[in-house]
Subunit: 201 residues, 2 copies
DNA sequence: CTTGCATTTTACCGGTCGGTCAACTATTGT
DNA sequence: ACAATAGTTGACCGACCGGTAAAATGCAAG
């Protein structure tokens, strides 16, 4: 890794924690640069605009997410419905550990950014939508396999997957309003009760 | 209504639409004053700070909500589970009409503000939490009555109410990411499938 | 040794941010 | 009528916003 990419990654790292713990608009480029030990001119060598930094931040979070506990949760070796349990558990422990370190429930960065910027920036919105779409298919795959295995009665796996993702985001939102990750523990498991039936032929 | 309260209400009205359609941090006091036809010094005669404006905006939205379609939805004359259907329907039509007028899905102002400010301002967070708590009890009352009527099997009405509220917020979030209120139509009705059982004695 | 490119530094841009202040004008109660 | 109070005006504050430009440096290939 050369010096250049290191500078870039320090910028993104500084931005990640700040965008996550506060908001997009509330974090200035100057502050990010100060924290990354980088001059502002150097920042604009790597990023044409603040939005492009946000895109990079979203990408890195998505990678963390995909390669971290989500990869573990959606392990094809696990029984499909257990993967969903695992994911909820992982989300709970993640938010809990963030709160222990940071003192605050920070919630889901994708949800946070979606509600903040999606009426103002269609490029960021499209990026976030793509993240959600990928997440939805994780749920859908698990549901499809659960149906194939006969673990659950047939249902509209596509819509139910979307409903489950919505529920997860909603629970995280409510937990953030209470600054209490325990809500995830209490409400999370009910995700498996969600069902959207197949349209009758 | 004297002139003073009119000035104040024009400020709040201008702020409501802007906070809803963009975000808290992205809307400046100057812009609100310009739109309300008020000088900035006059603004600070009525509001000690921007946060206090936000509190007033939240209150007005909460009143609109409580006296508007939510009052209709949670009509005690309606069978309890139909009230929930009604609420989902109303949320759908509301978001749809906003999109028709404004070109955008703006989502739920309480959810939007929660994710934006709740790590940064505990006073605003407390206010938003109070709104959610009230909303939760609307659901809980309906569930309690449904159980009493024998319409649904007994369950943990308090947690299920919270789960339903979370689901509604989550669906609105996802719909906003797609800028498409139709998602509410597709996913909304599944809210009634959510169940959190009573703890076994 | 030199050319050329990537990177970094520094100073700077116009504009906006939330908030303050003192002077001024209406309105109200006595 | 007068004093007190409520409301309004417009200029102003320092700080910060996202973004720019040009000069200085590091570095690698020819």
């Amino acid at each position: 890794m050369n010096i250049a990419t290191d500078t870039r990654s320090r910028i993104v790292a500084a931005a990640k924690t700040r965008f996550h713990s506060r908001s997009y608009a509330n974090v200035g480029i100057q502050e990010i640069c100060d924290n990354a030990g980088v001059q502002k001119g150097s920042f604009y060598h790597f990023f044409p605009s603040k939005r492009d930094l946000a895109l990079a931040v979203i990408d890195e979070f998505a990678d963390d997410w995909a390669n971290g506990f989500v990869a573990e949760a959606f392990d094809p070796a696990l029984p499909p419905m257990e993967r969903i349990d695992y994911l909820i558990d992982a989300a709970y422990f993640w938010q809990k550990s963030i709160k222990e370190v940071h003192g605050r429930m920070l919630g889901c960065i994708f949800g946070n950014l979606t509600l903040e910027v999606s009426t103002q920036d269609d490029i960021l919105r499209a990026k976030l939508l793509a993240i959600f779409t990928r997440a939805k298919f994780r749920f859908k795959d698990a549901l499809d396999q659960a149906v194939a295995n006969g673990d659950i009665a047939p249902l509209n796996t596509s819509l139910t997957a979307e409903a489950m993702l919505a529920y997860l985001e909603g629970v995280i939102l409510l937990a953030k309003s209470q600054n209490d990750p325990e809500l995830l523990y209490r409400l999370g498991p009910a995700i498996k009760t969600l069902r959207i039936e197949l349209k009758p032929a």
